[in-house]
């Protein structure tokens, strides 16, 4: 599998990361980019996903090195916390910049 960190995947738009072609994963990473860490439950509430679905997406992102998962003791329970890694941030920034470039190009074509 081709890993892209803002550099784009062959055959797709330059700069776009195939991981973020799934809107849920884009939303998840963008949400994590607004904070240092977020509880699994908070991300689940925001994304409106079931626990297994979110876990599956987090696993994909963790395998790519975009999201770090940590267990934190909280009283009698253990909380799962998610954090966007530096690689994840670079990839997300690159993807969003590529999206904005597509919008900008389309707008320029409309104006021309």
């Amino acid at each position: 599998m081709t890993t892209t960190t803002g550099g784009g995947t062959p055959g797709t738009d330059p700069g776009l990361d195939d991981v973020f072609s799934n809107t849920v994963r884009l939303r998840l990473c963008a949400y994590l980019s607004g904070c240092e860490e977020a509880d699994f439950q908070a991300v689940q509430d925001y994304c409106g996903l079931t626990q297994p679905t979110l876990s599956k997406n987090v696993t994909v992102l963790a395998d790519r090195g975009y999201v770090a998962v940590a267990k934190v003791a909280s009283g009698r329970y253990t909380r799962t916390r998610l954090r966007l890694t530096d690689d994840g941030r670079v990839a997300l920034d690159g993807h969003v910049a590529a999206l904005q470039a597509i919008v900008g190009q389309a707008r320029a074509q409309h104006d021309a």
């Binding site: 797709t12 738009d13 776009l16 973020f20 809107t23 884009l26 939303r27 998840l28 963008a30 949400y31 994590l32 980019s33 607004g34 904070c35 240092e36 860490e37 977020a38 509880d39 439950q41 908070a42 991300v43 509430d45 925001y46 916390r81 966007l84 997300l92 969003v96 999206l99 904005q100 597509i102 919008v103 389309a106 707008r107």
Partner: protein, 142 residues
Amino acid sequence: MDETTARDQADEALRAVRAASRPSLPRPLCATAALCAGAGVALLAQGSGVAKVVTLVLALALLAAAHLIPSTARRRRGLHGYRGGARTENTTFLLCALVLVVVGGTATAALAAIFVGLGVAVAVAWYAMLRGVLVAGGRTRS
């Protein structure tokens, strides 16, 4: 990828970042924090002598509360720490507060009324920001 999909995805990412940076908080909590911010600024230039020191300390406590109230609510929702634009905004707010404290601390009685007006403006702006109506830089959320 077509333009519409790209725009939708970019908007989605922006909404998610904002939701984590400044989650929408309940009105009473926003109003309390806004009152603290406004009162804190208004008190900075009040009194003289010992009274000025007391009001200055009280003002600093209120300004700290204005920041801590929403931050604590955010942490309770499972969001820890700030990153990106929100962190830059917080640094800007801190610098503004420092300038106001220095100016207010050395201000004469003539400036007291101006600081009251400034306090009202700060309270309104703080409330709007916490409610997600106003984003730093004067842009409004769609």
